[in-house]
Each structure stands twice: as C-alpha cells, then as structure tokens.
C-alpha cells in the first residue's frame, strides 16, 4: 500500500471517528428542530373517534363524544372547557371577532396538558326535554353531562325551513393566564347542532 492510499485511509478514519465521538453533541445540538408555531388544537370527535357526529337526538338516550386537546404552546397549560347551550337566536361565539358567547356556562371541565401532549376527554351526554303545549316550542330542561344534571331551561322554536327543533351545544376553550390569575377565552370552540326529535 502506497503513501497516497495511507493518506486516504487516514482521512476516512479521522472523519468517521470524529463524527462518531461527536454524535452525542450532534444529536443534542443540531438534530433538535426549533419550535416556530405555538398553538392549541381543540377538536370534538364522535362516538367512533372520528368526525361522524350524532345529529338526531332523542330524550334520555346517552351519546358519547370526545374532546381532543393538543398543547403546542411550549409549556404546560391549564385549560377550561365551558359547556354552553343555545337556541337559534341566542348568542354564539364569534370566530371572526374571537369572542366567546354571552350564554351562561352550564358546566366547566378544567384540566392540564403538558407541552407537546394531547389529552382526550370522553364525555357522556343526554338530554331531557319536552314539547310545549302548542307544539311549536320545545323546552330543553336538562342536559346530563357525565352523570351530572345541568339545568338548561332553554326554549327552542320550531324551525320551519329545516323542519325540526334545533339546539346548539357548544364548548368553549379557555386558558389560565398566569400573569393575571384568571381564565381567558382561548378563541377556540367546537359546536354541534342537534335535531331534537320528539
């Protein structure tokens, strides 16, 4: 073997050895991609863990839904989901103005999610309602969420266009602000239009 070949071998051995020894540093310093977007993903899934949602609801029947909350904020976060119900004329959250609904919260579900983690929260929901005497209004009396009876007391008028009694069940995501020690609307909500069958 000539000197030229020794030089080539030396070059290869040196580079491979240096890379091997430096691998912990390369792994820690170069292969960590910096996080550029900070957000929370909030989604509602149907009983089969997909976007197939129940639509026609009946009195007393239980429906299972799932919330998925993924934290990409860079640190652990303290969330609150406010459960709200409204008829077609009452206040809804506004996606354009990023404001929450004025409707009172029927229940709150608070929880924590670590950074880069997703939390799935199952909820069981059923409804207690009755048709009004003139049969043009439906009285949504109670919503039962995870076994807890929540007083809804909302009147739903007959929708002549869609031919049904439609109520809107929606869930607003709020986040705890450390600086001022209060929950603030996190500008995310999920909602379901429910056809209340009689």
């Amino acid at each position: 073997m000539g000197l030229q070949q020794y030089k080539m071998l030396l070059l290869v051995v040196t580079i491979v050895s240096a890379l091997f020894v430096a691998s912990p540093a390369i792994q820690q310093l170069l292969l960590v991609y910096p996080q550029t977007t900070y957000l929370t993903e909030f989604s509602l899934l149907g009983p089969y863990h997909n976007a197939t949602y129940p639509y026609n609801f009946t009195v007393g029947k239980n429906y299972r839904l799932y919330f998925d909350v993924e934290n990409r904020l860079g640190s652990c976060a303290y969330y609150l989901i406010q459960v709200k119900f409204r008829n077609q004329t009452q206040s809804a959250p506004d996606s354009f103005n990023h404001t929450s609904s004025n409707q009172p919260s029927l229940d709150s579900i608070s929880f924590f999610v670590a950074d880069k983690e997703t939390l799935e929260l199952p909820i069981d929901i059923s409804f207690q309602y009755k048709l009004g005497g003139n049969k043009t209004e439906l009285d949504m009396q109670n919503i039962i969420l995870n076994g807890t009876v929540l007083k809804a007391n909302t009147l739903i008028a007959w929708d002549s266009q869609r031919k049904g009694f439609y109520g809107n069940l929606f869930f607003e995501l709020w986040i705890f602000n450390d600086a001022i020690n209060v929950f603030q609307y996190h500008q995310r909500y999920v909602s379901l239009w429910l056809n209340m069958t009689t």
Binding site: L3, L10, P24, C76
Partner: protein, 163 residues
C-alpha cells in the same frame, strides 16, 4: 323521685347528644362560607402546583405522572364549583377538600423531579462538551498525521530515501 331522676338523665343525655352533634357535624354539613373558603383554598393549591409543574417541565423533567394527579385535583375542583353553583355546599366543601388533599406532597415531588432533571441536564452538558473536545482532538491528531504523511510523500517524490 326515681321518675324525676330518670327524666333528668334523659334530658342530660339529649343535651350531650345535641352538643356533640353540633360540634362534630359542623364540618360535615358545610355552609356557604366554608364551601367558598375550601374552593378558594383548593384553587390556590392547584395554582401553586401548576407553577411547580411548569418549573419542572422547563428544567426538562418528565411531568406525566404529575399531570395525572393534577388533573384528578382539577376534576374534583370542577365538581366542587358545580356543586357550589347548585347551592349544594356540603358536596362543594367535600369535593374541594378532596381536591386539596390529592395534592399533598405534590410540590416536593415536583421539586424532586426538577432536581433530577437539572442533574441529568448537567450530565448531558458534560457529555456534549467531552464529545466535542474528543472530536476536535481526533481531528487534530488526524491532521498532524496527514501532514507528516504528506511530507514523507513529498520527500519520496523528490527522490529522497524512504525510512
């Protein structure tokens, strides 16, 4: 006389029973004020624990186990608030107290995880520094060897005898 004594004993027994019930039943049948205080206290505890978790997480600790406990406490606090809103102060007090007691020893656990994470971080830093130093040393040795071989190669080309 005996009848009078029996009646007096019964009255005394009833009074003792009444006083005992009043003394021991007060925390169980909680009023609005004690429920409110318990909820407020549970909220503060959760807030302190949340801060501790954030610190541990920032230090690089795996906070999954802490999250489970914290979520249990948060769930109980939600129940307490709902019960309070429904004027069920007894349940509100009970849930708030349970929420707070779930977090007993939580901050020390979070601190321990944080310290472990800091130690691991220091070890990692040492490994990184050593690997960089080792790598640079290998490159230097390789370069020196390459220079030496290169000089020998030139001498060979100039017709000098090789060793």
């Amino acid at each position: 006389m005996i009848k009078y004594l029996k009646a007096s004993t019964s009255i005394t027994a009833i009074m003792i029973l009444f006083i005992t019930t009043a003394l021991f039943a007060s925390p169980v049948l909680a009023d609005q004020q004690s429920a409110q205080t318990a909820i407020s206290s549970a909220k503060n505890t959760i807030k302190s624990c949340y801060d501790a978790v954030k610190e541990s997480e920032a230090a690089g600790a795996n906070v999954d186990s802490l999250m489970v406990t914290l979520n249990d406490a948060a769930g109980l606090l939600s129940k307490a608030e709902l019960a309070y809103a429904s004027n069920d102060y007894h349940s509100a007090y009970s849930y708030a107290t349970q929420s707070k007691s779930k977090l007993n020893g939580f901050i020390s656990q979070a601190t321990a995880l944080k310290e472990t994470a800091i130690n691991n971080d220091n070890q990692n830093f040492t490994i990184i520094v050593l690997s960089i130093i080792g790598s640079v040393a290998i490159l230097c040795v390789g370069t020196v060897a390459w220079i030496v071989l290169n000089r020998k190669d030139r001498k060979n080309l100039n017709g000098s005898p090789t060793v």
